[in-house]
Symmetry: C2
Subunit: 283 residues, 2 copies
């Protein structure tokens, strides 16, 4: 059988008891390190599980399905992924390939930022479409997520912005070479995301009032959700640009219409209660 | 310290290792049985944890915060909730009360239907606002969720419909009495939800093409997600009305714009591949 096991928010103990039992007994266990990141390293996980893990990087997950699934019709093979198994399209694709090969699949669910973001007090049912904010390069600066944020804001909904993760990205120069070279890993911070969002509206020469958001819009930055070093900050988008929430992973929420209970909850993540109330009023 | 621990999708082994360690050591552990349901009973959990649990029903959670939080500034008290702790407003409120009383809170996240619904192959990033479909009574038949589904569909987004759960609802007759009497628990099925959704459009006398959905719209019903008896069915809304996915909990998804990979994944949950392709084409 082929198992895809969600590791939750990234600490070793975030795995479910069900997941841990499978990890202990499986023939081979792959650790996916491409669509998200762990807050602990591979070694810490191996020690916690009492077994060795095989790293599944981007190349292996996207092109080596055959290798991962080998013998899975007679033995138990597991793939560990941060968050919930269906957070990334690659995993859906892997399940399809397994089923085509007649291999039974079982998914072990876990928390992901999509529901854990509720930790900031914004109601999960008041979120609209989730968007992804990619790193810009000199020649590629997409901003299609702007219209999605605008659509959510028009309907009074909050927007969860997932921030870019670049792990094992080949350098442009090595793309045509046999031996690929990789860029150092990058994780977009709430500060970088805020800067990019502000850059987008400064480029759009319309009346300021028509914008999906402005520098004074209430935002919430979350970092390392679920870990002991979790940080949450509620402030304006302009202030978020200068904020430092420490190491990855970060996510940014652009608030929509706020319920009084949401405002009350957010005050604890603001410089002062009065300030948060002021931002919420004018946001 | 006060812990709110997510139990995930409802089986005993769905708790995280982190959560289980806290449950084993805590002074008192409450089991919330009001905003969702377990697929196992209290006794099975007690046996699995090796300790006794205190049932926290609607009255206790909403009015007995003081009782739950007693001694939490010096001892570890835990509240277990199905899914993720921030799935329901009641829990946010409980955290606020704890903080007001100077009690440190820690949240142990877990899977909830909001991310586990990805098991049907519809991409989580293509979902719009989540809606709740309540049971109708003779005098109270709200349909405000219709406009939210319409908004999602217009933007090509899928809609996750959470279906009503009625646990420990006082009977109308006993509302004014000292000793409350309760209705038997009810859990809305995908069939009941589909019937109600169809009833709404039959009541709206507009041109059929303007409707947010019709009887031929592609829907996905999911039941007991994450358990060994999980069931998924992809069919038209009209067919869903006659479907039986067995015991609770059920959730219903109204599909928006479909990506080819989503269609391919859904075929396994349909009567036949050809039929699913046909529904997806005209949906």
């Amino acid at each position: 059988m082929f198992f895809i096991i969600g590791l939750g928010l990234g600490e070793a103990e975030d795995i479910t008891v069900k997941g841990l039992e499978i990890v202990k007994k499986a023939e081979r266990v792959y650790l996916e390190v491409y669509t998200s990141i762990l807050t602990v390293g591979k070694e810490a996980l191996e020690q916690f599980y009492g077994r060795n893990l095989i790293i599944a990087d981007r190349d292996l997950v996207e092109q080596g399905a055959h290798e991962i699934l080998q013998d899975a019709n007679s033995k138990d093979i597991a793939l560990l992924v941060v968050g919930d198994p269906f957070g990334a399209t690659t995993h859906t694709d892997l399940v399809l390939r397994a089923r085509e090969a007649g291999i039974t699949c079982k998914i072990i669910h876990n928390a992901s930022i999509l529901n854990a973001v509720g930790c900031c007090g914004l109601q999960l049912y008041s979120f609209g479409e989730t968007v992804s904010i990619p790193y810009w390069s000199e020649s590629w600066q997409p901003d299609s997520f702007y219209d999605k944020i605008a659509g959510n804001r028009r309907r009074g909904l909050h927007t969860l912005c997932l921030l870019d993760i670049r792990v094992k990205e080949p350098t442009l120069e090595s793309l045509t070479k046999k031996r690929k070279e990789y860029q150092p890993p990058r994780f977009m911070s709430v500060s970088e995301a805020a800067g990019q969002l502000l850059e987008i509206i400064s480029r759009r020469h319309r009346d300021h009032k028509e914008f999906a958001y402005t520098g004074t819009t209430l935002c919430v930055g979350v970092a390392r959700v679920g870990s002991d070093t979790q940080q949450i900050l509620a402030c304006t988008l302009q202030e978020m640009k200068d904020a430092d929430l420490g190491p990855p992973l970060h996510s940014l929420i652009i608030a929509g219409h706020l319920h009084p209970l949401e405002v009350e909850y957010l005050t604890q993540f603001s410089e002062s209660k009065e300030k948060l109330l002021q931002i919420a009023k004018t946001s």
